[in-house]
Symmetry: C2
Amino acid sequence: MRIVALAGGIGGARFLRGLQQAAPEADITVIGNIGDDISLFGLRVCPDLDTVMYTLGGGINEEQGWGRADETFTIREELAAYEVGPSWFTLGDRDFATHIVRTQMLDAGYPLSAVTEALCERWKPGVRLLPMSDDRVETHVVIEEEQGRRAVHFQEWWVRLHAQVPARSIVAVGAEDAKPAPGVLEALDAADFVILPPSNPVVSVGTILSVPGIRPAVAAKTVVGVSPIIGGAPVRGMADACLTAIGVETSAGAVAAHYGADLLDGWLVDTADAALEGDLDGIAVRARPLLMTDVDAAADIARAAVDLARELA
Amino acid sequence: MRIVALAGGIGGARFLRGLQQAAPEADITVIGNIGDDISLFGLRVCPDLDTVMYTLGGGINEEQGWGRADETFTIREELAAYEVGPSWFTLGDRDFATHIVRTQMLDAGYPLSAVTEALCERWKPGVRLLPMSDDRVETHVVIEEEQGRRAVHFQEWWVRLHAQVPARSIVAVGAEDAKPAPGVLEALDAADFVILPPSNPVVSVGTILSVPGIRPAVAAKTVVGVSPIIGGAPVRGMADACLTAIGVETSAGAVAAHYGADLLDGWLVDTADAALEGDLDGIAVRARPLLMTDVDAAADIARAAVDLARELA
């Protein structure tokens, strides 16, 4: 069984760990979002790819869902002593090492896909992890401040401003001219079905789909999504702020409609949204508990997604 | 009193700390060696400049003489887990932060002199620390191995090979075309005298003097040197291997002759070399204990150097 999943960070990574437990024999390719990548202290940081890699590789800080377990913060302390910022983005020493290795390889000319593969040789995540593109795509958010409108890097809006300043628009800068990374279209073509984990539909899954060629390749397959919205609110994160920015209501039904029946074949919603069950303009909707309280719970959800996909395929 | 000192790493830094104690009112400019700078993990490392900065700024690991006090090695551990080398050059987490800040500034276009000044804003070493040049000069060592001759970076010979493989020659690559960093010639011009601490005469002081314009500007001043060789052996380090490579005997007298009477006016040797006292082909030689066992001992030696320089000026 060949499965392709499009993943953002924490929610995607936790779902994927469940998927591995639910389908241990499956050949899983993960297409990871790079829109939230950022250069900090001269180093290239890929938060979503790393969250997937660390989570599936056993190196994640389980409590916070991102960053490394047993992390230390000596470098952060030193950078503060040098008064070198930004201080709002936390990088631990172990995490820094990943960015040092990545940046050194990128500077040597390796594309991000090759770098990610090299990093995964250590972590052995048990999936093939591909960045959506080897080209640079950066999500920028247009916010309105007293001084006027300005575009900030997604991380500045998300981490520094906690998405509290309303976003006027969200743009995946560079996406138009980006090409899918080597292996992305091939994996989609070979897939039995595609799963959209409960990642952010705008700045994670949406950004991946914005790379020319990816959306049609996904739409050509049986696609089952897991709603990141339960009872009108995001399970975690601030997806509501992103949905509002693009004019989509924060509800499981609205997100399904936003993805569209041309893309989605099946849609898992929480029992809180059981009223949506049935056929939603051509999308088969099933309700079940969607809280990933632990790996077993994530595996149960993943199993339901796989079952629905096989049923619809 | 305006003093300029040309310094390498550990020996130079310890001497300078003594000089500050011996001449607390002096305006001291240090011209630092950059020949042993190396790029590791994509970061620019300047061992000699950092040793001076950390030592005078109170951040040095006192026992080993280089690197940071209270150092941790998380990144080193992580790089090993990624199987990314070289592993023979030890960089601690605190030290890494310095190289991250430096590399980020260099990549942004700042010259090394400006970067060093910025780093010193934190460390406040109490001296003006100038790299000998903003141009890249790298000391390479030609060694003979079974496979034939090859040139290696100085650090590879010094740290990885412990200078155990005989050096056929030592070359300061890039020195010919390098220019003194801004402030170097001005500081020399304004100096009352110049001191050569007991740094390596070949790969530290020698490299600094190899930058066109620096040697004549030094020679135009009263210059007093402190012998790094006591009784036919280097006080620390492997200066003998460097001297042998350039055909100079490992003795206090031979090093003075190598610097030459056109450069040196005074030369402090250890009491073990008291036989040299007097006039050595135009260089005034004085013998006194030269072991820098602690800061007070270093201050005594520095005071003797200052006294001799004032006498000869």
